[in-house]
Symmetry: C2
Subunit: 336 residues, 2 copies
């Protein structure tokens, strides 16, 4: 069987089963592994330290194209998408390892610019670039592994935002707006111009402050939106054994998105991906408190309900359910 | 300027300068970064915990070829080479993040086998596979990021083996034998057969126990041999500001290596690379104590001297200096 038949999420489930089998090793003399595959970060406990770890890769021609993305942007985004995973746990970042896959004819100045972007992002959202690896590769790629930790001193799991903590009756909110990054990608590919969308795509902002604020306010469930709002909410619901309902007319989008993309705006907002906003799930009054204190808008757009685990229904303004299709599958036979 | 003109080590030095510049961020509310680029692992201090972190990547067609390497072997080696970096610090491994770059037409069974190799290695040298990332990529690659920690409770730097701790008068030793892995690679490429060499290439054994033993015995300087004995010793000497002398007739090689590779054995042993043995540097009597207690042979083959930092002289049996050329440079214009 080829991977395209199994798909990315099928493969992840298969590997989780493989690793979770009784043959899996116990960690001796080391930390307790509290959470492995299945959340935004792996979680390890060293004494009183709850550590978060994540890794994300960007490949030339798959996740970006140097035809439209500057090297500085690529560096920024490579770190920002990992910081977003730490934000999704409500944690703070500590240090990153950077792996570059390069061909020998790469210009040194390109790598200087890439590191300029990495360093700019690491200065804005303080963390250290601690080391890494450089390899020869036929297509350029950059892999970041990022380590962070929980700031709250209460024990795990109450010091982290987990995908598995949604309960019927909770409200669902998202930070910022969704759909803008996917709009930016479409514009970059077609040669169109609209700076807010292009910036959203090239320079995502990890929502670290809001993640921590949400945790402090009592939110226990969250994840970041990387593969599309509807698909990621479905994953969160799957992990929690619940279903969700979303009201399209409450989904926050940039004020100009519907007029600039009259046919596509709803699809971009629901399934566009690479938003790097946070989905937050908690009782309505808790989310209201977060919205009041957050510098970034936090908008309630739906609710958790009992139902088929992982099922998400989106209602349009006329009260009709919308077929949202899937989100981004990295191993699908014909990626967008 | 293209990377091929700068070379891998020139690029690493350039990036170290970039990152070390005053614009580099301070880590707030986080651990102290004790060592970044320049040793086998980055080192962070969280309270009493000294944490090691490393990452290594293997790319199809560059670091291995599925024509001769089985998927199980590739999985084993991907983790083993990272474990070797933890061994080179004298630490213990804790958990790994695994990134796979795959094309959609990869067979699922290949990934099962790859994970079989990863899990076998993680069971033999206990650590957890904690998560990772799966991306679409034009050439298969596997990146492992591995976190470990120092076992000794004495404060850093006395709880780690560092490249920078060599002093004139120290002896230089290596675990096991060198040159066998490069011989195995040559045989795999030419269709030759000699199982010890092929196994050494496909299934390296990280020297975790000997690394810890060396640290306990008082060794403070070490690194692993991945790019070739002479070149890696030169790096260690550069980091310590010293020079070294090596006696070729004391370099430990497999008993059959000279007869099977009569013209190439010395070159294989000195510059072959991918040995994943440990270089240990300490006063002679300390290395003797390590050799006595180690299950793996520990052979003294040279000494640290005052001299041009990073300069390594190899003497042959006739007392003549040998020109050893360089080790492996991942960005050299014509890689071996």
């Amino acid at each position: 069987m080829q991977l395209s038949q199994l798909g990315e999420f099928g493969l992840i489930a298969r590997l989780r089963d493989l690793i979770g089998a009784p043959a899996a090793p116990a960690v001796t003399n080391g930390p307790a592994l509290l959470a492995g595959i299945g959340d935004d970060c792996a979680v390890s406990q060293y004494g009183a330290l709850t550590q978060f770890a994540t890794t994300d890769t960007m490949v030339q021609g798959v996740h970006f194209d140097v035809v439209y993305a500057g090297w500085h942007d690529i560096g920024w985004k490579a770190l920002a998408v990992n910081l977003s995973d730490i934000a999704a746990m409500g944690g703070v970042p500590d240090y990153a390892l950077i792996t570059l896959g390069l061909s020998a004819d790469t210009e040194v100045e390109a790598i200087d610019d890439l590191y300029g972007g990495l360093l700019a992002c690491a200065a804005e959202f303080p963390c250290a670039l601690a080391g890494g690896d450089i390899v020869s590769a036929p297509a350029f790629f950059v892999t970041v592994a990022l380590i962070g930790h929980a700031v709250s001193s209460v024990p795990y799991p109450n010091n982290a935002l987990l995908r598995s903590a949604a309960r019927p009756g909770d409200a669902v909110a998202v930070t910022g707006t969704v759909g803008l990054s996917a709009a930016g990608l479409a514009l970059l590919k077609s040669g169109g111009e609209w700076q807010p969308a292009i910036t959203a795509h090239l320079r995502p902002i990890p929502r670290l402050a809001t993640g921590r604020l949400a945790l402090e306010a009592g939110v226990r469930c969250g994840m970041d939106v990387s593969d599309g709002l509807a698909g990621d909410l479905a994953k969160l619901c799957g992990a929690s054994g619940v279903a969700a309902e979303v009201d399209l007319n409450r989904v926050p989008v940039h004020a100009e998105l519907p007029s600039r993309f009259p046919d596509a705006w709803a699809r971009l907002a629901l399934t566009g991906g690479e938003d790097y906003e946070l989905l937050l799930v908690a009782p309505p009054e808790v989310l209201d408190a977060v919205a009041e204190r957050s510098a970034v808008p936090v908008t309630t757009l739906g609710r958790i309900v009992a139902g088929a685990p992982g099922h998400v229904t989106v209602w349009d303004a006329q009260g009709k359910a919308i077929d949202i299709g899937g989100g981004w599958d990295h191993l699908a036979p014909s990626p967008r």
